[in-house]
């Protein structure tokens, strides 16, 4: 409980700092402050005064900040300078697409990376282990964008197996409800659902694979290292001498102890993963927050940049702290030694 409060406190303080930082961003951007904040280019002096009153620019900075927090909470996130679209709507359309990609990539990495890591760690220094180590080293060293382009050249342009862009062929007219494409297909009433699923999965393969390969390689290396360490521990040797089979030892003692150090690494990887996903989104025209944010940066759409940055950093921060908390809760042994270092 004490732990929970401590982490909650950490989270609240960090959120507050992020909001303060994002509040001051428009003051640092070049150009007209009112446009940077509201996204509207005032056409007349009257409109300008009216806008200034709405955004409390005529009042103290403290009032402006209070108003900023209020509008964040009320989903009143302003409009984009470029096309006057509602930023809250835009983000709520784009963000699930990113989550989807992050989710699948993480899932694939865990399903493939951790078992392979265990196997090669348990039977280390045999040909399988060497090839796994080589593969993971190579996979980890690839720049994601290069990998994605190679995939496109091979699978899209040469073999013509897979599509290059988007989440689903635009001809499937799937209404957006949840923002998660597979869920949306399930909830929609389009006539050709099986084709739509197949098409959506086709679109998922390459982006997921490009992101997942790096993360998988990383998981393999950490899992392998971790299980090798654990298997050398005294309690494993003790278990062996008591006559347990290899299988019993692994599942009773090895698995959990080897997994524990992996979780915090997962937390560390969240931000790398998101960064990679943002790059991949741009390459595969995946309509997620990364692509949206990069477009906003190109077009110098400051209100959009501000909200986009805030949302992405909030998400990374929330994920990291939550995973940290879970790790700590599962492993009280670390409590004392590392309580100072978060």
């Amino acid at each position: 409980m004490k732990l929970f409060i401590r982490y909650l406190n950490l989270m609240v303080v960090t959120i507050f700092i992020l909001i303060v930082l994002s509040f001051f961003l428009p003051f640092l951007f070049p150009g007209d402050l009112l446009t940077n904040i509201s996204g509207i280019v005032a056409q007349s002096a009257d409109q300008r005064t009216a806008l200034e009153q709405v955004y409390k620019l005529d009042q103290s900075i403290f009032h402006q900040f209070i108003f900023y927090i209020e509008s964040l909470l009320n989903s009143n996130w302003g409009v984009s300078t470029n096309d006057q679209s509602n930023l809250y709507q835009e983000v709520s359309l784009a963000f699930p697409a990113t989550l989807e990609l992050v989710g699948y990539a993480l899932l694939v990495s865990i399903i493939i990376g951790i078992p392979i890591g265990f196997i090669s760690g348990l039977k280390n220094h045999n040909p399988f282990d060497f090839s796994v180590v080589t593969f993971s080293m190579v996979g980890y060293s690839f720049p994601v964008f290069w990998l994605a382009l190679i995939f496109i050249t091979i699978f899209c342009l040469q073999l013509e197996w897979l599509p290059i862009s988007g989440r689903i062929d635009l001809l499937f007219d799937v209404p957006v409800e949840t923002g998660f494409i597979l869920l949306d297909i399930a909830r929609s009433d389009i006539p050709n659902k099986p084709d739509a699923y197949l098409d959506a999965l086709h679109h998922l393969i390459l982006p997921t694979a490009s992101v997942a390969i790096v993360t998988t390689a990383l998981f393999i290396r950490f899992t392998r290292r971790s299980i090798m360490d654990v298997m050398d521990k005294g309690y494993i040797i003790a278990a062996k001498s008591r006559g347990f089979t290899q299988r019993q030892i692994f599942f009773k003692h090895g698995l959990k102890n080897a997994l524990l150090p992996i979780l915090p690494i997962l937390a560390l990887q969240i931000s790398t993963l998101i960064t990679n996903v943002m790059i991949i989104e741009t390459i595969f025209s995946w309509p997620g927050i990364g692509r949206w944010l990069i477009q906003a940066i190109y077009q110098q759409d400051y209100p959009a940049i501000r909200i986009g940055m805030l949302i992405v950093s909030l998400f990374v921060m929330a994920m990291t702290i939550t995973i940290e908390f879970i790790t700590r809760a599962m492993n009280p042994a670390r409590e004392r030694a590392e309580s100072a270092a978060v």
């Binding site: 984009s80 470029n82 096309d83 679209s85 359309l93 493939i112 078992p115 392979i116 265990f118 196997i119 348990l122 039977k123 399988f128 496109i152 699978f155 899209c156 342009l157 013509e160 197996w161 897979l162 599509p163 290059i164 862009s165 988007g166 062929d169 635009l170 001809l171 499937f172 007219d173 006539p191 050709n192 084709d195 739509a196 197949l198 098409d199 999965l201 086709h202 393969i205 089979t245 290899q246 299988r247 692994f250 025209s285 309509p287 477009q295």
Partner: protein, 541 residues
């Protein structure tokens, strides 16, 4: 014994095999009557009255709207559109249009029309750009670049309703290109009823953002940088074979559009790049349509800035560049050399028009004579987008830079984002610019007037900022005559004047291309503007 590795390896093999099988199982789109067009950019609005950019015209002119008159895309003749017939008075001043009855406007989630198309819609659509006191005139900025560049609102005396289906337009002076102007992409007919509803709701700007028209497609959804969705207008007044759904997939990068055409994610693409044309022709699953285009690519000097206000300096610069090698290097032979403004496809084309050759020695002499120093520095603006009339302005700018270096002139190449580029051009911040013009109608006036008359300077289509009363008088005079031969002679005089004054160097008339998948049939290149899908069919494979 511990068998996990074996079990896992089996499982992995199995899943890999199933994944491969799954990857080969292509989802079928045959059941959907739809097509995807990969366009190059976001439309500025959904009303072509407000914007001459071809992106806007592609996205709206022939999808959402109809015009009173239409160009036949194959021969350029004017045909009935929403006007079933028309009459021109003896003196050429009064035009009477008989309107089609029972033409339905789009019914969409945001608007349900209660009446069909009638004279009020015509009057509203024309008055919006013509009358600066019209309540809708300033909605959307109050700029109507096409009409402003032709100064058309000053030429129209009145637009009157004779009865519900008859409209009379009276001009101050005869204008032989008037009917052609009514058939351009920009002369779309909007719904007056919708405009009134929006005004009453206090959101008039929605007229151009959530469009309502009579055209073959209804607007459904637009997401910036992503896509535009259209749906077939079931009650369209003409029989159409076009797909039920039409999607514009906005793909800014040319290479990506080409890649998506190959994978079949695009059925047709905008602006296939010159270097891809050979690939498209080679592949069986792709088709390349080709047509001589009504366009001209040119190098315009900002004649409002010294030393470019001096015709001799302009002629010297024109002498310094070798057009033939520009044609080879930039258009890769996909264009013909331009002697004057209009291409050979137009009836006003002058085969024996005078033209400056490549003569760097003479160029330097002229520059010395006019006191332009050695190592003088000028800038050449290269447009950032690809257009048929100039597929690679940056490359052309670099070639020009090397030619001008030979005559002792330094060049800075300048480029901006397309919208900022055009805005800065309009303000006249350039020394010279590589740009061009795509005709909106078959009339030569559509080249001569918007490109170089005085009225076209504020509206931003006169890139040379050149104002010459003699030239304006010639262009005016040509409109007063109906006879093609007499008009041609006047345009030839204008050509001679342009040769002497050289406000711009005409470089090339490019072919127009349309790249598409072979299963798409009946697609036509529309030389008079925006792309059309109303007769396109997808053949099941």
């Amino acid at each position: 014994m511990f068998h996990a590795p074996l079990v896992f390896a089996r499982w992995l093999c199995l899943s890999l095999i199933s994944l491969t099988l799954f990857a080969c199982a292509k989802p079928s789109l045959d059941s959907i009557n739809a097509m995807t067009f990969c366009s190059e950019s976001n439309p500025g609005s959904f009303n072509p009255q407000l914007d001459t950019s071809s992106t806007t015209a592609d996205a709206s002119a022939h999808q959402i709207y109809d015009r009173l008159l239409e160009f036949n895309p194959s021969n350029g003749l004017i045909e009935p559109g929403l006007a079933s017939s028309w009459l021109v008075s003896e003196d050429g001043l009064t035009y009477t249009f008989q309107l089609r009855r029972g033409v339905q406007f789009h019914t969409t989630p945001y608007f349900t029309p209660t009446r069909t198309f009638n004279a009020d819609d015509v009057i509203f659509s024309i008055d919006r750009w013509r009358n600066s006191f019209h309540p809708y005139h300033d909605v959307g900025g109050g700029n109507y670049p096409y009409f402003d560049s032709l100064n058309l609102s000053e030429r129209i005396k009145s637009v009157e309703r004779i009865n519900g289906y008859r409209v009379e337009i009276t001009l101050y002076i005869p204008d032989s290109s008037f009917l052609a102007n009514l058939a351009t992409d920009f002369s779309v007919i909007l719904s007056e009823e919708y405009a009134i509803t929006l005004m009453a709701d206090g959101r008039p700007a929605d007229l151009d953002r959530f469009p309502i028209g009579t055209g073959p497609y209804k607007f459904r959804e637009f997401r910036q940088n992503q896509h535009i969705r259209f749906e077939r207008h079931a009650d369209y007044f003409l029989p159409t074979t076009g797909p039920q759904q039409l999607v514009f997939d906005i793909t800014a990068k040319g290479s990506l559009r080409m890649a998506k055409l190959i994978t079949g994610e695009c059925d047709a693409v905008a602006f296939a790049s010159q270097s891809d044309l050979a690939v498209i022709e080679e592949r069986e699953d792709l088709t390349l349509l080709e047509k001589p285009g009504l366009n001209v690519g040119f190098w315009a000097f900002n004649t409002s800035k010294p030393p470019f206000d001096n015709p001799n300096v302009r002629r010297a610069l024109a002498l310094a560049i070798d057009k033939t090698s520009l044609l080879d290097a930039v258009y890769l032979g996909q264009a013909t050399r331009a002697k004057s403004l209009v291409p050979s496809a137009s009836w006003a084309y002058q085969a024996n028009a005078k033209e400056l050759g490549y003569n760097p020695v003479r160029a330097r002499e002229l520059l010395d004579q006019e006191g332009v120093p050695f190592n003088f520095t000028m800038n050449v603006w290269a447009m950032p987008v690809q257009r048929a009339y100039n597929p690679n302005a940056m490359k052309m700018a670099q070639l020009i830079k090397s030619y001008l270096a030979d005559v002792g002139i330094n060049v800075n190449i300048v480029s901006y984002d397309w919208n900022i580029f055009r805005e800065n051009l309009r303000m006249g911040l350039h020394d010279s610019v590589l740009i061009g013009w795509n005709a909106d109608n078959g009339d030569p006036d559509n080249f001569y007037r918007p490109l170089l008359t005085c009225d076209a300077i504020p509206s931003g289509t006169n890139r040379a900022m050149w104002c010459n009363p003699q030239y304006d008088a010639l262009v005016e005079q040509a409109l007063l005559i109906d006879d093609f031969d007499a008009r041609t002679l006047i345009y030839h005089q204008a050509n001679t004047l342009l040769f002497e004054e050289m406000p711009l160097v005409p470089i090339a008339h490019a072919f127009q291309y349309q790249a598409l998948r072979s299963e798409i049939k009946n697609m036509q290149i529309n030389p008079f503007g925006g792309i059309r899908f109303d007769s396109v069919e997808r053949q099941a494979q």
